[in-house]
């Protein structure tokens, strides 16, 4: 019931955001949405595992991701407000309204999709996210943005077609079982009756479809362009909660597979995709010269690691969930900080930047810490999850894969590092005029510090409840 | 104690003997065997000229050189009565103290800023580096052979059993003689009598030293000769009583000096380029000695 209320509320807010021209009221609406979201999250957390509307069941995985979403949405909304305010000369009330409406829609669609217990419902919300994301990507109405959104939309259209075909095959395999309730629980409940052939096909198609959202080989391509072209706060969303959406989809279907004899086959498929993803990210990290795209590729690398952990099983599944949550906390910090970089240099090419430490101390420290986190060096939180993932690979005797991954990661750190330190320390190019650099208040970076600190805390000293939730989510996988 | 005095004594006539031998070999009567010492005394009386490039280093170096050699001599035993000071591994100390002196003399050569002396310094540094291993392996094989690790204990317990051990002794003597020649940069690696600076090693390093300093340096090299002679003599003295050992010591010293003289008069100096490999031969030979020692002890398997 509450979900319907929430969605209607969201739709109302979107509508009024689009049609209302008053700036103040718009921001008020956004704030309202923020509180609504928090309330929603709190409510769902309190009645976990209660079926709502027969399609929604906030299980622990959904709750975890929903809470992470709530946690990062607030700073992201705030920073998109700053973004719109601070530097968009050509910002019309309409575009502003559209931007916020799309953002609200995206956030809530993701949030609800986490909770859905029915593949079809998930699918619908995935469509919604594509719709809203495309608006965000196309916010700057220029040719490049157009290209980005075109690719994103088209690839996503193809990918959700894949998912749809996958669902059809799933239904075929259910046909044999003689059940017509397509909720994950019921499928998992009588996994032994499924027709394996169709199940295999359906997993393959659904997996491939969701890779577009998750940012994994083979369909990672459009996502990179999207994160590059979208405004940074939107990019932060695309790089965190939208990827999580893909993760949820794959995770739930994979959970079914693990109960069937196809388990090892599914693992192989996932490992292939994951390794390729890490490889691709290594290829581009070592040569990329566009800061935003670099962040996007590092996201691909992390998703690859998550999938490896998932496929390795054992402690790996725990690590995968932990890793994706920490990544959700860390990646937005980078994207939000990117705003300030752009304010300083008016460019996203690594050739035009330098000596950021001089122009914006606090921001530079954020970049430094976020770099440490994103490359999972020990003081950072992701190190723990990555360590556990490696450990799971080690335990399940994927030594060769482990070594390959380690080499690739080293290369990635090299590429990432040389760019980041070029940005932070090497002297700024002669051409830029120092006069135009705006004075940036340290408080702009506050939220990023919070996010990074949260990541470290969650990793090294996780609250008991948090651990329980993850372990409960792991139980889906046998 | 006794060995110290003996070495000082030997140092007085040693170079004289060498010179005498050489002049006889070249058909002259030659000066008396104490002539070199007289020259040194003359030098010590003279005043000296300093280059305006030089610094304090240049003044300290000769003294440090002398004192390093003196300290080294303190450790040389005489048969079965030890030197002033003796402890396990003192020959390591011995080598390093000498190295200290060498270090000082080299930098003092560089101190003058003259290209000739730089040349000499560079050669000196390289050759002494090449000599070190031979000495250490030789002492190592003695340590292996006798099971002791100090000059005194080694030489007091050194005794030749089988033929092969005599052979080893001979080889060791040979190596030591050559080490002494190189350390004092005499024939065949260096010819002090040549007057072409480009081909000298030790002499060219002290071009700018004069008067007192020059005297010290030259006397130091005599001392060095005597010291090596003493060590060589220790190969043969063993545990003999004084009334045999002391004459034996003198005999060895004389023999050594004459040998030096003979070599210098009948051998030509090597080409500079050939010196390194020649010097390195010593290391290989001492390796052979080492294996010989292993063989004797039957540890070779």
């Amino acid at each position: 019931m509450i979900i319907v209320a929430f969605l209607t509320g969201v739709l109302l807010i979107c509508g009024s955001l689009i049609f209302n021209r008053n700036k103040f009221i718009n921001y008020l609406l956004v704030a309202l949405f923020g509180t609504m979201l928090l309330g929603f999250g709190a409510y769902q957390y309190n009645n976990i595992n209660t079926i709502q509307l027969s399609f929604f069941k906030p299980d622990s995985l959904g709750i975890l991701l929903l809470l992470a979403l709530c946690f990062i949405s607030i700073p992201i909304l705030f920073h998109s407000y700053r973004y719109i305010e601070k530097f968009n000369p050509d910002e019309t009330p309409r575009s502003r309204g559209l931007f916020f409406a799309a953002m609200v829609l995206l956030i809530s669609a993701c949030g609800v999709a986490y909770l859905s217990n029915h593949i079809a419902v998930t699918w619908i919300f995935v469509e919604l996210t594509t719709l809203s994301a495309s608006v965000l990507i196309y916010h700057h109405r220029n040719i490049r943005a157009l290209e980005g959104v075109w690719k994103y939309v088209f690839i996503c259209a193809i990918s959700i077609t894949f998912i749809y075909v996958g669902i059809l095959f799933l239904s075929l395999s259910l046909k044999q079982a003689g059940i017509d309730d397509m909720s994950f629980d019921s499928i998992r409940a009588n996994y032994d009756k499924l027709n394996l052939f169709w199940l295999k096909l359906s997993f393959l198609f659904i997996f491939t479809g969701f890779t577009a959202k998750l940012g994994l080989v083979p369909m990672f391509t459009a996502g990179v362009d999207a994160k590059d072209k979208a405004p940074a706060p939107a990019g932060a969303l695309l790089a965190s909660i939208l990827m999580n959406l893909g993760f949820v989809g794959i995770y739930r279907v994979y959970a079914i597979m693990t109960h069937t004899p196809l388990h090892t086959w599914a693992n192989t498929v996932i490992i292939i995709a994951a390794l390729l993803s890490v490889f691709v990210s290594a290829v581009y990290m070592t040569r990329i010269r566009n800061i935003k795209r670099m962040f996007a590729y590092s996201g691909i690398e992390h998703m690859g690691l998550v999938m490896l952990g998932l496929a390795a099983g054992g402690v790996g599944v725990y690590a995968a969930i932990l890793h994706i949550i920490l990544h959700t906390l860390v990646k937005p910090a980078l994207f939000l900080q990117y705003n300030q970089i752009y304010w300083v240099y008016q460019s996203k090419s690594i050739y035009d930047v330098g000596n950021y430490f001089k122009y914006n101390k606090t921001g530079a420290i954020v970049i430094l810490l976020a770099f440490i986190s994103a490359t999972a060096m020990p003081p950072s939180g992701l190190f723990v999850s990555e360590f556990l993932i490696f450990q799971s690979l080690f335990q399940s005797h994927y030594i060769l894969i482990l070594v390959t991954v380690l080499i690739l990661l080293t290369l990635i750190i090299w590429g990432f590092g040389s760019n980041v330190f070029k940005l932070l320390f090497s002297p700024s190019p002669k051409t830029m005029d120092k006069s135009a650099i705006p004075e940036i208040s340290p408080w702009e970076s506050f939220s990023q510090y919070v996010l990074l600190a949260a990541a470290v805390y969650m990793a090294y000293n996780p609250p008991q409840r948090f651990v329980e939730l993850i372990q409960d989510a792991v139980k889906l996988i046998q | 104690m006794i060995s110290f005095l003996l070495i000082i004594l030997a140092s007085f006539f040693f170079m004289g003997v060498v010179v005498r031998t050489k002049s006889i070999a070249s058909g002259r009567r030659g000066p008396g065997i104490f002539q070199p010492m007289k020259d040194i005394l003359r030098l010590l009386k003279k005043g000296s000229v300093y280059s305006k490039t030089t610094s304090l280093i240049f003044k300290i170096a000769p003294v440090a050189y002398l004192s390093s050699v003196l300290m080294a001599i303190l450790m040389v035993p005489h048969g079965n009565n030890p030197g002033f000071i003796s402890f396990d591994g003192d020959f390591v100390m011995f080598a390093y103290v000498l190295a200290f002196g060498k270090f000082m003399i080299i930098i003092s050569a560089l101190d003058t800023g003259s290209s000739f002396e730089g040349m000499g310094a560079s050669r000196e540094a390289l050759y002494s580096m090449l000599v070190e291993p031979a000495f250490f392996i030789l002492m190592g094989s003695f340590a292996l052979y006798t099971g002791h690790t100090s000059f005194f204990t080694i030489f007091s317990t050194l005794h030749y059993g089988s033929y092969i051990s005599y052979m080893l002794g001979a080889l060791a003597t040979f190596v030591f003689v050559l080490i002494a020649m190189i350390e004092n940069s005499r024939m065949p690696v260096d010819d002090p009598k040549t007057h072409l600076e480009l081909t000298m090693i030790h002499e060219v390093m002290v071009l700018d030293n004069s008067g007192f300093d020059l005297g010290l340096i030259q006397y130091t090299s005599y001392l060095k000769f005597a010291m090596y002679g003493a060590i060589i003599s220790n190969f043969f003295i063993g545990v003999l009583p004084f009334w045999i050992s002391i004459p034996m010591f003198l005999v060895v010293q004389f023999g050594f000096a004459i040998a030096v003289g003979v070599i210098e008069s009948f051998m030509a100096r090597f080409r500079m380029g050939h010196n390194p490999q020649f010097i390195f031969i010593l290391t290989s030979v001492s390796m052979l000695i080492f294996f010989g020692a292993l063989l004797v002890l039957g540890k070779f398997m």
Partner: protein, 677 residues
């Protein structure tokens, strides 16, 4: 007490860092120095307490990720704490003066100081913590903060490059350690160090060796054993002088600490470990010094000498392992004792040398030896301190370098009594290595000191040398004093060393006192001997002074064989000084030489340059990296901006996943069919 020590210790550092925003640069500098001094005092007190009353330990209840976190301060930790603290003290003090030149770069300095304090705290924590995961964390904090400290002059391109190289290599190092700890964790389910002992003593020896190799490679990268040394010669010239001094003095020693710690924990076939370490170390030492000689950048030269000294330390460690394997206590004492002592000594004279190099740099604004000459007249204090450092690093009496080398020599020669042929050969090998190292070091530092400080300036640049301020030299004097004291009274350190070395022997064996006493006796006599040496030299110099003061003295130009013009260009340069060496060693090294032949009756101005290059770096870093780049760049077509390709990826993926198994299956059928024929 120890509990509060750790918390209090780190708390001070953190408070200091937090307080930075409220001060000006000068204040920050003073705070840094003050904090370091306070922390040094505290930690030294604790270390001495440990030496007096035995090890202390305390366990924190960590989270369920880390498991319990034991902190244990035993003799080994205490020793390293003392070594590190001393160098950090002098380093901070010297750094305060050194950094005055850059006092306008406020933020940069603040970052640098933060990194400095973090560095000290983390490095001390490394010596205490006994939990794998936490160790990794502290380790990386150490690596990162040292990275930040290194790239202080980050407006230079090569500094950044060197820094990133350093960062990547230390990351590889931590990867090895991660693998090792992961191994233990997977097998025993615990991060505690004691788990390593439990695991390896239960398993066959080969497991222990494998585990040790992982640890060793990890620590070797940090310590700079060949072939893992390539970051050192790049990072040292890039860093500011005090950081170079600290890095070469203690940071690379943390690798040694790690190796010693692991040797303490792992129970396995020590003999083969000993041979392995011995071989690696001898190669390291010889290779390091061989390259050091041909370097003409002073800091790079010193960096290669750090590699050489690591080799010497390694020889000691290897000897100790062999001693454990053949259970000969004298070897254990001499080996590990020598290694530990040399760790201390090297930290002293190497930091001193780097500090002097820093002063030289600030006076001449170059590190190129060929441009220097005659500095002794302008900056005499620096010169004589550098001379002391050089004599010490060459291991010449009466300075401390000799003592530790003597320690190791004693062990080596004692070992010759053994009956094991292989062992004797190994010892011979080691002796040879040590001797060659000594000789080459002599060449190298006669060159370094002679060319830099003696003769005349070799380039015509006129530099105005400001007067040396005596106050600035205080830390250097302290270090020099330490060098001399250890050189003369090595015996004062003997009890501590014996305490540590006994940790390596299993509790069952009772230490034989005569062996120790003989060693102590040697040390004392070495000390007396050195004292006598100094006394004699002084006496002789005094005599000489008295005599020559009465004689006539004239000051003339250097004898120039009749040439009376400006001879400063004719002096022997660094490269000509080592020319004959270069001819000998050229085949081992990689020296790019570009020379122009003089031609014609009146030849034009010609010049010749030699650029030494590191062969190992070429093999292990450059070539593989180049190949990998080439390989990766093959795949850049993936993101080609063409949407049709993007769509195809999806279909191709699905198609392959479906078809490949089918094809394989059919092939299998076909081959079975063939087999049946």
């Amino acid at each position: 007490m120890e509990k509060y020590f750790i918390e209090f210790f780190n708390l001070i550092g953190i408070i200091a860092i937090i307080s930075f925003p409220f001060f000006k640069t000068k204040g920050r500098g003073l705070i840094t120095l003050g904090v370091i001094i306070v922390q040094v005092i505290i930690s030294s007190i604790v270390a001495f307490y440990v030496f007096a009353n035995g090890p202390v330990s305390h366990t924190f209840t960590g989270s369920f990720i880390t498991g319990p976190i034991p902190f244990r301060i035993d003799f080994l930790s205490a020793w390293f704490i003392l070594v590190i603290s001393f160098t950090f003290l002098t380093g901070a003090w010297y750094g305060l003066h050194y950094m005055k030149k850059y006092k306008d770069q406020t933020d940069n300095l603040a970052l640098h100081m933060t990194a400095f304090i973090l560095l000290y705290n983390s490095i001390i924590d490394i010596c205490l913590v006994q939990n794998g995961l936490v160790l990794l964390v502290v380790w990386e904090i150490m690596a990162l903060s040292s990275f930040i400290a290194v790239i202080f002059e980050h407006n230079k391109k090569e500094t950044i490059k060197a820094g990133i190289n350093f960062l990547i290599q230390s990351h590889v190092c931590i990867l090895f350690l991660t693998m090792a700890f992961m191994w233990v964790k997977v097998k025993t389910g615990s991060f505690d160090f004691s788990a390593i002992t439990a695991y390896t003593s239960a398993e066959p020896a080969i497991t222990g060796i494998g585990l040790f190799l992982f640890f060793f490679f990890g620590f070797a990268i940090k310590a700079g054993f060949v072939p893992f040394h390539t970051w050192l010669p790049l990072a040292h010239p890039a860093a500011p002088a005090h950081i170079s001094g600290i890095m070469s003095g203690v940071i690379i020693k943390i690798g040694i600490y790690g190796i010693l710690r692991v040797l303490l924990l792992i129970k396995t076939d020590m003999v083969s470990l000993g041979y392995f370490i011995l071989a690696v170390s001898v190669i390291t030492g010889v290779y390091g010094v061989m390259l050091a000689i041909v370097q003409h950048n002073l800091k790079k030269l010193l960096a290669y000498h750090s590699i050489e000294n690591i080799g010497i330390i390694g020889i000691g460690i290897g000897l100790g392992c062999l001693g454990l394997g053949y259970n000969s206590q004298i070897l254990v004492v001499c080996g590990f004792g020598g290694a530990l002592l040399h760790t201390l000594n090297h930290s002293l004279f190497k930091s001193l040398l780097f500090y002097c190099a820093g002063i030289v740099y600030q006076k001449t604004h170059t590190m190129d030896i060929e441009k220097m000459g005659g500095l002794l007249k302008h900056i005499p204090r620096t010169g004589y301190l550098f001379l002391i450092g050089s004599l010490a690093i060459c291991g010449l009496p009466p300075f401390n370098g000799f003592v530790s080398e003597f320690f190791i020599y004693t062990g080596l020669f004692n070992g010759l009594q053994s009956n094991d042929f292989l062992f004797i050969m190994a010892l011979l090998f080691a002796i040879l290595g040590l001797v060659v190292i000594g000789g080459l070091a002599l060449i190298c530092f006669t060159k370094a000191f002679g060319i830099i400080f003696l003769g005349n300036s070799r380039d015509h640049e006129v530099r105005n040398f400001s007067k040396e301020k005596p106050m600035d030299f205080f830390p250097l004097y302290i270090v020099a004093l330490g060098i001399l004291i250890i050189g003369l009274l090595p015996v004062i350190l003997a009890p501590a060393l014996l305490k540590i070395t006994q940790m390596y022997m299993s509790a069952s064996v009772i230490p034989v006192t005569p062996a120790y006493n003989s060693i102590l006796g040697n040390l004392t006599s070495v000390g007396w001997y050195s004292l006598g040496f100094i006394a004699l030299t002084a006496l002789l110099y005094f005599l000489r002074h008295i005599i020559t003061s009465r004689r006539a003295q004239t000051i003339e130009a250097t004898w120039g064989c009749g040439y009376t013009g400006d001879a400063s260009k004719m002096q022997y340069t660094a490269s000509s000084f080592i020319r004959s060496y270069r001819k000998l060693a050229g085949s081992f090294l990689m020296i790019k030489k570009d020379k122009q032949e003089a031609s014609g009756l009146y030849p034009e101005h010609i010049n010749q340059e030699t650029h030494p290059y590191d062969r190992v770096e070429n093999w292990f870093i450059d070539k593989p990296l180049h190949l990998i780049r080439r390989f990766l760049n093959r795949f850049v077509f993936l993101q080609n901006g063409n949407i049709q390709a993007y769509i195809l990826y999806g279909f191709i993926f699905i198609g392959l996943v479906i078809l490949v198994p089918v094809i394989i299956e059919k092939l299998a059928v076909f081959f079975n069919f063939l087999n049946q024929l």
